[in-house]
Symmetry: C2
Subunit: 209 residues, 2 copies
């Protein structure tokens, strides 16, 4: 079983289960999901990341005890990845680093689409010389903006810019892209491979579960 | 559809399909397989690799024309990976590099099991600082040796040595390990994650097909 840690407090278990459900459907893995406590707005800056780290580590331990044979942190910034790997004895996967590694397995030049001001540092360090740069879609500041038609089109324009800069594939550095099925849209409209963080995490889990 | 290139001439299509069949069963992907011509002994040294490169590139082009949306080179040494990426417009996956990337997505320290004298250079360069070293199972020289009880036990002892050297996971740098289900055996007997090249290639394909 794969344990998914949501780095946001979601009162409705169906919302909490959403990312795990995408993984279950595509790869047929058994998945259980849990949310960190008391962070209704999730992780979006240094302060909220620091607050979240011990909570993520605690959940990783609990999921290991509940029999999870791999733990996934469902956030493209991979908060607490190193700390969780210290704390538990099963592989810990970060959605962002999985997308970067899966991208490198497929193509040589990768651009990053993010809703943050910068590419998460772990992603750019993994990509190394394959990194051609990042784009932040105009007007997209939170994951909810991706669900609007304007946010979706702005994301598409950003991907086109990355392709023009030489990207052969796009690392989608926000788990909100999974919710809107953006990787498939890029493939269909632009013929460009996109590496979704949730599906990448699922693929990395599928290879050893 | 994923196109699998076998870097050995196999007269029986059922043998040629074997690796693709493992991928189809685990990930539910549609797969077609093709063998290079006139290399009954496959690729096992510099000369046979050089002979094979243009044949692999040719097959990659043919598989792309037949509608494959990703191409996989089914050999842990990833022969002709760079050349194929130049030649076709779909992602090209190498079994060895996929296993290395998937290993890095899961754990921080990786050992390599190989039947060659050295770790394939692409695998060690991808692993970088995560690489703790390699082992070649005693008495195992060809992929067929892995199918004997002695070969299997020698492989197991080599994996134990890598774990003692700090490996948290093992990159299986021979596609013959898939045939004998060795990744599952390591997990069961040693509690250690192993990254099989065929299943890793399949996972990398599954994320974008």
């Amino acid at each position: 079983m794969l344990g998914i840690i949501r780095v946001i407090t979601l009162p409705d278990q169906r919302d909490a289960d959403l990312h795990g459900e995408l993984i279950r459907r595509r790869y047929g893995l058994e998945v259980t999901s849990a949310c960190i406590e008391d962070q209704q707005e999730g992780v979006f800056d240094n302060r909220t990341e620091e607050l979240a780290i011990p909570k993520i580590v605690l959940l990783a331990g609990e999921l290991e005890k509940r029999g999870c044979r791999a733990i996934g942190i469902s956030c493209a910034a991979d908060p607490a990845l190193a700390e969780c790997r210290q704390a538990v004895n099963v592989p810990v996967l970060g959605a962002g680093s999985c997308a970067a590694h899966l991208g490198l397995a497929s193509v040589d030049k990768l651009g990053v689409l993010t809703i943050l001001e910068e590419t998460p540092p772990l992603i750019s360090s993994i990509l190394g010389e394959a990194y051609v740069g990042m784009e932040r879609p105009e007007g997209v500041v939170t994951t909810l903006d991706l669900r609007t038609e304007a946010g979706r089109e702005a994301s598409f324009r950003s991907a086109v810019k990355l392709a023009e800069r030489g990207a052969e594939g796009i690392v989608l550095a926000c788990t909100g892209f999974a919710t809107i099925g953006f990787a498939e849209e890029l493939e269909r409209r632009l013929g460009l491979r996109a590496f979704d963080p949730i599906y990448s995490l699922g693929a990395a889990a599928a290879v050893c579960l």
